[in-house]
Symmetry: C2
Subunit: 166 residues, 2 copies
Amino acid sequence: MAENVLYYNSNNSRYYYKDVKFMRTLKYSRQRESILEFLQGREDHPTADTVYINIRRIYPNISLGTVYRNLSLLASLGEICRISCEDGADRFDAVTKPHYHVVCRCCGRVEDLPMKWEIDEDRRAAQIYQGRIDGHTTCFYGICAQCLEEEKNDEKSAENSLTAMA
Amino acid sequence: MAENVLYYNSNNSRYYYKDVKFMRTLKYSRQRESILEFLQGREDHPTADTVYINIRRIYPNISLGTVYRNLSLLASLGEICRISCEDGADRFDAVTKPHYHVVCRCCGRVEDLPMKWEIDEDRRAAQIYQGRIDGHTTCFYGICAQCLEEEKNDEKSAENSLTAMA
DNA sequence: TTAATAATAGTAATTGTTACTGTTTTATAC
DNA sequence: GTATAAAACAGTAACAATTACTATTATTAA
């Protein structure tokens, strides 16, 4: 399963030789580079739209299609990974080493959870699954610290207005 | 967090009293009942569209909106659960007790994995997370037995045609 | 039976994403 | 450098999954 081989050309701008499946040589693109760099500089996990809005500051007429195409390409190359949670849009993460995520049920924010990755799970699953297992994702759900805080404030102000009415 | 209280009325058709958040009493609906029953009789994890197509055999002019609305409602009541994986549509599962899923990267099928559920994960996560953790989902990815089989057959027939050409 | 309202069917609108088309960039061969 | 081939682009249209809207029907409690 040798998939995507990475080369550097003479200008040290990187390009890729894509796998047998599509039989094509990728060419460098400033937009793609910029998208990758943007993601690498982010701690959160932006959606395609957020990427779009931000890259437009550098390439004002980049199109949303280009953002989507490159995010998908980078993900299929393994340079970034795609996170699909239960809310709308997919999110993207430049940290490709497997790790845990926490999704806030309230605001939708996706945070990293710096917990030791349970490496054994795939092997455990493979033992009882007929097909082939090649990875897994684990997504925790809950309420983030900030939303908990706001919830508490809301309750307080509700109490206060009741008191005022009495 | 007492959320959704379940009652039975005099006709023994069930209805729900929904939580404080929306302040409304749910009424019985044959369509909703039927959707729930359909899901309970399925081993796989149908999409909204599959549910729609099947329920139409009982209620020929049920609308797709009704299916979506009730799937979301049932999920928020905890009667069913929603599975969002990296491919298109959400899937629904009447088995609400947490368990593992395997998604085939090839055909998109979602299977249950009868592996012992790691109950400790939430507690482990809660210890290092600032906010509140109330559950997690783990989704394995791979190639299902059937797709592996087809892949093998394809390779064989490719070899044969090469031999024939020589 | 009536009144109140939840739920419905049917349809339109929205959202996230992909596909298409003519033009521009990039890499390579001369 | 110039020419050629093909990848990538911008802009736009199409698509699929889902949600919102509206007038009508079904369900419940009084």
